[in-house]
Symmetry: D2
Subunit: 152 residues, 4 copies
């Protein structure tokens, strides 16, 4: 399910992507953490899907902004992504996506660009492969299985 991204998105597309991420942050439902996060996902077809964190009184049922954006896209029939922008209210430095979101991204390819934004719209970019080295991917489930191990 991997694909190559040869060209970076045009500047105007990135500007729109970043604006959508900031805007989504304002719709965060996070009465428990009070930690607002916004994300915007750019498909290879050029569409943008945005998301925010949506929490739950039973904390494990909460979900992140990045995953909200991803399930939104997939449920609209889009599963090829070229970039994701992520922002929070953290003022200094940048926050990386959590491991669960990295795993969710990995399902749909390892060649996405990850833009971390601060509230001033400054950004730091990572190649996704830098963020989840030695990823567990759909291919792992298809690998040949041993019939014995050192115990049996």
């Amino acid at each position: 399910m991997e694909k190559k991204i040869v060209h970076a998105p045009p500047t105007t597309t990135l500007e729109e992507l970043f604006r959508e991420a900031h805007s989504a942050k304002h719709r965060a439902y996070c009465p428990y953490s009070k930690f607002r996060v916004g994300a915007a996902l750019l498909t290879t077809s050029g569409k943008i899907y945005s998301g925010c964190n949506v929490e739950n009184a039973s904390y494990p049922l909460s979900t992140c902004a990045e995953r909200t954006a991803i399930v939104k896209a997939v449920s609209e029939g889009e599963a090829n992504f070229q970039a994701i922008a992520i922002t929070s209210d953290v003022d200094a430095g940048y926050c990386g996506p959590c491991g669960a979101c990295r795993q969710t991204i990995a399902e749909f390819g390892l060649d996405i660009d990850v833009y971390l934004l601060n509230p001033q719209n400054e950004c730091k970019m990572f190649k996704f492969r830098e963020l989840l080295p030695f990823a567990f991917t759909p291919r792992d489930l298809q690998k040949t299985r041993a019939t014995h191990d050192i115990i049996d």
Copy 2:
């Protein structure tokens, strides 16, 4: 966060809600379970948000159709719901939503109507309170805490 639903949605709205649930099922990303699920959520403002299940090679990172629809709505600023329709490919009888989805619904109110649909568009309706009795809700987090228990 509860609200009262006085009137059932008009028939044409329900028809559209059901159609959206079936349609969303066709966009399910479920290469592991091969169990397609579609959901459509009706807000009290009359909007419909649909969702499908989106799975992951690391199974716990999968999410359900109902939760996809809910985070989609919340991330668009809608958090008051009057009905949800849910369907799968199961031919005989109806499948209830999983407990995680019930918990996610409960966060936004306990007065939503739950319509379970089969592939022939026949339905079975539950009041949400019937499906998650004695629910854990945002109110539980605000209850007075004891300063001692039988141990200390």
Copy 3:
């Protein structure tokens, strides 16, 4: 995977189960919610496994006391349960388990007794089937699938 529970556990066993639930609460790792929960699970073979909630800075990666106890038991080879006791610091009334925990319990059978305890060790008992009516269970995945729906 269902099984019938004919006899209630003896009083001394229940007393020990309750004590284990309270005790586990004191080991809760919940720096975010500050909502301590303890659970103790009684297997049909008479063993007790206890658990507490274990939270994460990325809230969705948190897990509940009940699920901690369940995975502990299963990972020790025990998957038949007759009772679970659950407690928190909430002083008045009783808190029900969240929907995700109900779903996790349902995987291993629907005939477990659920004891909700307050800090004073008073309890309220539910039959599990009362807490997750019309449950989604392993059987649902095995049901016959329709080859067409109203859309195709």
Copy 4:
């Protein structure tokens, strides 16, 4: 919550850790994926806690071997870890832990050694920081928040 690990565990401890991981794999409850995983966690106090994956008919309620081991340890009062060993039935190469497990590990420190084992007990070692670069950690929640962003 970080801590420095100065000395590698002694060889006999590692041998026992690896054996526990293999052994735990045999207790995996994975009727859906049929992908058995075992993990064993070594605390800085020298104790070993093992875990396996525990799945659910509602796939998102499944949990991984690594997280089973972690919640087991935490619920027994141990939250300082020096090494984790992980194994599956995959014959060739090694499978990395999923992103959700990496996030769960990160909560308790970034200096743990991760040993990936194949069924023949050969291993590949990673420093945890290599597996989750730019991790989201408890510190992120405490960072100063901006009072404005480019939108408001």
